[in-house]
Amino acid sequence: MTRAALWRTSTWRTPTWLGRLKKPFGKAERPPRPVNPVKRADRFTVQDLMVEASHGIGGHTGRLVMTTMGTVLGIASLVVTIGFAQTAAGQIARQFDSVSATQVLVQPGKAGNMFGSGTPKTSLPWDAPERVERLAGVEKAGLVGQVDAAGARITAVPVNDPSAPQSAGPPLLAGSAGLLDAVRGSVVTGRFFDAGHDARADRVVVLGTRAAEELGVNRVDRQPAIFIGDRAYTVIGIIDGVQRRTDMLDAVILPSGTARADFGMGSAQELHVRIAIGAGSVVGKQAPIALDPNTPDNFDVIAPQSGSELQQSVQADVNIVFLVLGLIALLAGGLGIANVTLLSVSERVGEIGLRRALGATRREIRAQFTVESVVIGLLGGLIGAALGVFAVVGVSLVQQWTPIIDLPMVLGCAVLGAVVGLIAGAYPAAKASKIEPISALRQGV
């Protein structure tokens, strides 16, 4: 054994003989322990604390309601604020992949007179779909325009019966091959015309479902024909489900090449563009340039606002107003709790004195009043959170939104109520713990 090790062992463990010797000479000899230690379970435990605090609160129901009111309002408005922000964000996210967020419409601008019905400043080129489809974010583009049939009637049979009622017949539209995809339509039966039909000016048509019904066409496998004036056109398909230009469902649609050849159609009126999510603002800016690099301003573009911009602006609007209101209400709630706990302390001076006489320490008195105000705060927080959730769900139901409420957020708000109680109770509880038992006992309970 080295010296160091020896030294260490001797300091670690005082030899028993030394311990025995030390006692009689000990200067600060304390009397035998005045208070034998009590088992932890038999002391004033958290369980006891909770029971006593709940009795302290339970006494005045009416006062309790008034006390919690501020916290209830504060927490409720916080939950409402955050709940609505989340609901709005969810709502926008839904709109975001819905049709309106993925469509761009380009039209020739009108030479402005006050009534917005002047002559077009420019016209859409026939190759507009190809030009626009080269842009990033564009999925499909298609032209559409009305065709002036020059009084020619559209019928299913070529009879010219002057006694038959002169119905207007379905409207006549012309489109490019990509039109159906661009407006998210679907083919019920047959097919839509393609670029080949368009280029060859084939005499084919596609019918919207309601036009097909009107003309009595329900299948295309036998190549039925319809007549525009006295010219026959083969029906190659029936379409449905379009999300834009729903008038296509009532119309007879020609390839634009055919319309040019047979009816001398000048130009299309609208370019529908289906875009990728989030590409709205970019495509909206670039499409007119692609169509006419020299005078892009001649086109009017309707493009969806970028999703995130919209989301941010909505969220910001809701947050500031309600958040400030909520915090003010919470502050008022905290002051309310502090006030009532202070009142309760001064009313219960006798009780405090009695508890001290029965052996309660200052710490135990302080703990009791702190827990009382924490419980009041938590109660307010829970009620407020529940009311907030009801409000968000109720309004969402009326507005047909999907309510989105984060459960941890709601619980967090309820706990925030308890924190408010904790802070509000600090001063009254400290005051209660400083009350001298003698003077307190002079006051009755």
Binding site: P32, P34, D42, H55, A360
Partner: protein, 230 residues
């Protein structure tokens, strides 16, 4: 000289003075020497303002002497921390007050149980002890009542049950019959005497000479000075 030689001494006051700094300074107790043995039954009389309650507060560890020493069960209480004094108060001393000091919104049983919270009574024993204490004071049939529905004598008996449930060494009563009529006073004093016969050390402050004369020992305080009557 102290604990080991006189194990039967519960209370020993040595030259205790308690002065309240003025102005004017009030000496509520002046050089009091007093010993109380286990099982003693002591009455304290004296005019109003003579220092009876002040003495009781010192004995109950609610107050500290300005000068002098108070030994409880041989322990020098002056050297104890506030926490230790609170623990000692909870376990060794029982109080009975003139105005009962019952919590008005808690049942009779709860009022008695409160005393077990701070005095280290084993949890499992609390309920049986509270029932036994209330049976003992003749209120076993009033457990669920609120104090406000009880008569004065019944209230004081609840307070006595509360004071003895933690099995204190010393029971201090400040005018326990001050709010009671003669008949009820006698009943309460009968109860005190039964408890004393079972070995409880009892100190009773009173204005009522009929009450004071029942005690085996009596002292009188005049202007803070103690004189022994018997």
């Amino acid at each position: 000289m102290t604990d080991s030689q006189r194990p039967d001494t519960v209370v020993e006051l040595i030259d205790v003075t308690r002065s309240f700094p003025g102005p004017p300074e009030v000496q509520a107790l002046k050089g009091v020497n007093l010993a109380i043995n286990r099982g003693d039954y002591l009455s304290i009389v004296g005019p109003s303002g003579s220092g009876k309650s002040t003495l009781l507060n010192v004995l109950g560890l609610l107050d500290r002497p300005s000068v002098g020493e108070f030994l409880l069960d041989g322990v020098r209480t002056g050297a104890l921390s506030e926490e230790e004094r609170a623990a000692l108060r909870g376990r060794s001393i029982g109080f009975v007050f003139q105005s009962f000091h019952l919590l008005p919104r808690r049942t009779v049983l709860d009022n008695v149980l409160i005393s077990t919270l701070y005095s280290g009574v084993p949890r499992a024993e609390r309920m049986p002890r509270a029932r036994a204490a209330l049976d003992r004071v003749g209120l076993g049939h009033r457990l669920g009542f609120l104090p406000t529905t009880l008569s004065g004598g019944e209230r004081q008996r609840v307070a006595i049950a509360r004071a003895v449930i933690a099995q204190p060494r010393l029971l201090l009563a400040d005018e326990p019959t001050g709010n009671l009529d003669a008949q009820t006073s006698r009943e309460v004093m009968d109860l005190f005497e039964e408890l004393n016969a079972d070995g409880l050390t009892l100190v009773v402050i009173t204005h009522d000479s009929a009450v004071a004369e029942r005690a085996r020992r009596g002292i009188r305080i005049d202007d803070g000075r103690v004189s022994v009557l018997r």
